[in-house]
Symmetry: C2
Subunit: 168 residues, 2 copies
DNA sequence: CGCGATTATCTTGACGTCAAGATAGGCGCC
DNA sequence: GGCGCCTATCTTGACGTCAAGATAATCGCG
């Protein structure tokens, strides 16, 4: 019995004509995402980051040497718009964690690169972050984790099929 | 193979010391929440609402007659802060969908009530919303839905146990 | 080789959200 | 009954996000 069950029971009483089973599943995904996000924010804040800035630094870090990608490349893996990305890069550049470099091969484009400081920050943060995630998931048995992950993966494929785009 | 698999593979190459299994599960929940939210926003917008305003109206509607709750009651079922709620109510009041009434039993408190117009809007919107949700979930087999919902419910209980509060 | 179409990034303006603190009404001990 | 404490709601200021459009550089057809 979670909050979603209460919500569904209320709808069933008020609008018995509606099939609210999908609402339950979608509501649970949303609420879990929210709880998990709040839990992870604290770790980011402890390292001077937000979920937004962590996202950019982590994408650059895991891309491997030379830890630099164009804004367009970053957009491809992040679920945000171009304006949002510009804003994120501005903040990180101001903080000295990334720098904008000219792209020698295309004057329209730019390369966003981790600075030395940025590398140190993201490497320390991601280590703590993984520990936080492990803690956030410890309430679920090993079996449930595997089963849940498999089902989520199958569902996510509906929106992000193969290697192409993930439009909604 | 979704985007999350790509991300995990990159981390495994760059930081083989980290156990990224939790990151996969949490990342999939986040991305699904995002995709689903984007899909549902369009329905809200078609009825002049946002996810935020829908949330308030729906909570009042499903609470049953007389379709009125105090801000404190609303906060109990919504995952937002009091300042955010004040802002949402201000917008809805300006749009004529809810109204603030004095609480005869407690001068500190207020009652937020659906107006006639607000009732009509939310009733029409929720009907369309349920149809949208049914569409967003149709990529998943009936069996998978049931299994996924059961696992999500078990996981959500970690954060929202019983009838008490759901702090993170 | 020049100019229109395309691509890459940034700008603008409007919202939604949060944390922290301010305001204001009620409650209870003395 | 008065005064300090608690509770309910609102205010403030800083961010993050989006949609739509602006700017700037490259591409490609004639």
């Amino acid at each position: 019995m979670d909050r979603v069950d209460d919500i569904l029971a209320q709808w069933h009483r008020e609008r018995p004509d509606l099939d609210v089973a999908p609402m339950g599943l979608i509501g649970r995904i949303n609420r879990l995402s929210h709880h998990l996000g709040r839990g992870m924010e604290k770790t980011f804040a402890a390292h001077g980051l937000t979920a937004a800035s962590f996202d950019v630094l982590a994408t650059l870090r895991r891309s491997g040497r030379p830890y630099s990608l164009s804004p367009g490349d970053l957009l491809g893996t992040m679920m945000i718009t171009s304006g949002t990305l510009t804003n994120r890069i501005d903040q990180l550049e101001k903080a000295g964690l990334v720098e904008r470099r000219q792209n020698p091969e295309d004057g329209r484009s730019v390369l966003i690169a981790l600075t030395e400081k940025g590398f140190a920050v993201i490497d320390a943060t991601v280590t703590a972050h993984v520990a936080t995630q492990a803690r956030l998931i410890e309430g679920l048995s090993k079996q449930d984790r595997v089963a849940l992950d498999a089902l989520l993966s199958r569902y996510l494929k509906v929106f992000e099929s193969g290697t192409s785009e993930g439009k909604s």
